[in-house]
């Protein structure tokens, strides 16, 4: 797919010496949902700020839609939308006027029909003449999305769109993001909710301490780093691993009362091996009373990668 955004050697060092971005290289493809995962202070918002013109990079280049953001920023920015993490908007303004202002700010002619369409799609039409301060937190966040969509961007940044919102609203937000994807908008989503990335993203990037640790297709990442873990509770404790099952990646635990399998690659290989292991146990006359299996989630991968990053640091 065509690259829509290309970051090359992007670094940002704040005046206090904090290195918020450290030589980041990243390419975003047209039409994808890219989730940037990282703990608080990892550099996610700085990366967005650098692309959107809020943060001045210390070094590196940013190209959006083929334009160099340092020189052709007008053309590039006109196609980028940003929904910030904070609920930052003029709270005294009515919803429709605030959204119309955003469209005008980006140099587009007034289009009441388009504004109505956006407000309706975000269930804000009934609130169009209400002051933003009178809306609930979830509605305010939708207003920010409406403002970001008012100039019909091709690339949309959503900085922690579901931070601090309840489960129902989070699901509603996912539906909105899905709908935007359906309209062909490329979305870059920052989050520290792994579940969100797992649900929505085509590709995932993991960032910590300003370094992009890994970027991959979500499914490929799961396949490459995913693991199956099975705990088999034995009917009788074993003193050592019998040779019949020694070729499996297993070990005894809990004083020999439980057998732990850790293996697979996230493609289902682990499940098949666990099935083969249980057959081998039966053939060997080793009885068991329970099996507990689980596939590692993106969260496990995330935690593991962060652990490796910290270990290396």
């Amino acid at each position: 797919m065509d690259p829509i955004l290309e970051l090359s050697g992007l670094s940002k060092v704040y005046p206090g010496g904090l290195k918020a971005l450290d030589d980041v290289d990243l390419t975003i493809r047209k039409g994808e949902i890219f989730a940037l995962l990282g703990p608080n202070g990892a550099g996610k918002t700085t990366l967005i700020g650098a692309v959107c013109g809020i943060v001045r990079p210390t070094s590196g280049t940013i190209r959006a839609f083929g334009h160099d953001m340092a020189s052709d920023w007008r053309q590039a920015r006109s196609r980028i939308g940003l929904v910030p993490q904070e609920l930052a908007t003029d709270m005294f303004e009515p919803v429709r006027r605030a959204v119309s202002y955003s469209r005008g700010l980006f140099g587009l002619a007034p289009d009441p029909a388009r504004i109505e369409e956006i407000l309706r799609s975000l269930s804000l039409w009934d609130k169009r003449d209400e002051r933003i301060m009178a809306l609930s937190g979830g509605m305010k966040r939708r207003v920010l999305i409406a403002k970001a969509l008012a100039h019909e961007p091709d690339l949309l940044f959503l900085d922690e769109p579901t931070a601090g919102v309840d489960v129902e609203l989070r699901k509603g937000m996912w539906a909105i993001i899905d709908e935007m994807r359906g309209r062909g908008v490329t979305i870059i989503l920052t989050t520290h909710y792994i579940e969100e990335a797992e649900m929505m993203a085509d590709r995932v990037g993991i960032i910590n301490r300003g370094k992009l640790l890994m970027v991959d297709e979500k499914d490929a990442m799961m396949a490459r780093l995913g693991r199956t873990e099975a705990h088999i509770t034995l009917a009788k404790p074993l003193a050592s691993l019998p040779p019949e099952i020694a070729h499996f990646p297993v070990e005894l635990e809990a004083g020999g009362t439980s057998l732990c399998y850790r293996g697979g690659d996230g493609t289902g290989k682990g499940k098949a091996e666990v099935a083969a292991l249980t057959k081998a146990l039966i053939v060997s006359g080793i009885d068991y009373t329970g099996i507990d299996t689980r596939e590692s989630s993106l969260e496990d991968i995330f935690v593991s990668l962060l652990g490796e990053g910290e270990g290396a640091a």
């Binding site: 700085t46 809020i54 940003l82 904070e86 955003s102 700010l105 140099g107």
Partner: protein, 254 residues
């Protein structure tokens, strides 16, 4: 290339912000001007001599106009840019395809418009108390617009420099207002004893008040050319500072 739609959006939004507090914005200068005329015009003015053939009540009109103009223009413009920084809404402006031209024309244009509205209100209010005429109305308008532009830019710089509300108010309160009061608003510096009449010339506001007074009555404490030159110099200095701010992103972009 400048985007006029973006400029218009910023300009109209800033004016809407002004209109949200229209009652206060209009009533405050009317009340303040009336009080000055009651105190200085009626109570004290009767005991003052004519100043170069101009009745004291009429004499103070340009000074009062300048007093309100400098304070309101600076405060409107500084709040206009400071509040988005304070609340975080500046992200939208910074991420939009707008540059220094759109931003300045929008914010400063709106602050200038508000100043012209206020100037009109003050002049109409003054007319209720004093009979006066303006010798050079076109020059007066140009001069008011120049001063409004310069102090809108100055306020814009203040609004970017300030990182708390105290800083936002400290320059207008501790420097601008005292200098305006000491800048010949209510008197001619020729009335001052020596060496204060000479020392007063170090106050830049003297040239602004004097310049506006010249456009009203054709006479003033300092040469009108010098007043225009100082006003234009201040305007140019403010533009240079703002150009630097936008070029470097100082206090605007992290």
């Amino acid at each position: 290339m400048i985007s006029w739609r973006s400029t218009w959006s910023i300009y109209t939004r800033e004016l809407m912000r002004f209109l949200r507090t229209a009652f206060q914005s209009v009533l405050a200068p009317v009340l303040t001007t009336s009080l000055y005329f009651i105190v200085f015009g009626a109570a004290i003015g009767g005991r003052m001599p004519d100043l170069g053939g101009v009745d004291y009540g009429a004499f103070i009109i340009p000074g009062l106009l300048m007093l309100t103009l400098l304070g309101e223009t600076t405060s409107n413009s500084s709040f206009g840019i400071y509040m988005p920084r304070f609340t975080g809404t500046i992200y939208e402006l910074l991420s939009a395809p707008v540059g220094v031209a759109e931003t300045l024309l929008g914010f400063v244009g709106a602050a200038m418009t508000k100043s012209l509205i206020l100037a009109t209100i003050i002049l109409v209010t003054a007319r209720l108390f004093v009979d006066y005429s303006i010798a050079h109305p076109l020059l007066a308008l140009v001069y008011i617009m120049l001063v409004a532009a310069a102090f809108s830019l100055f306020g814009f710089i203040l609004g970017i420099w300030a990182d708390n509300f105290e800083k936002l108010g400290i320059i207008p309160m501790l420097f601008l207002t005292p200098l305006t009061f000491l800048g010949g608003t209510f008197y001619s510096i020729k009335m001052l004893p020596k060496p204060w009449d000479t020392i007063a010339l170090a106050n830049p506001i003297v040239y602004l008040v004097s310049g506006l007074r010249w456009t009203f009555y054709g006479k003033a404490d300092v040469d009108i050319g010098l007043s225009f030159a100082i006003t234009l110099g201040f305007l140019a200095a403010c533009i240079a500072v703002i150009a630097y701010i936008f070029r470097t992103g100082w206090r605007l972009r992290a």
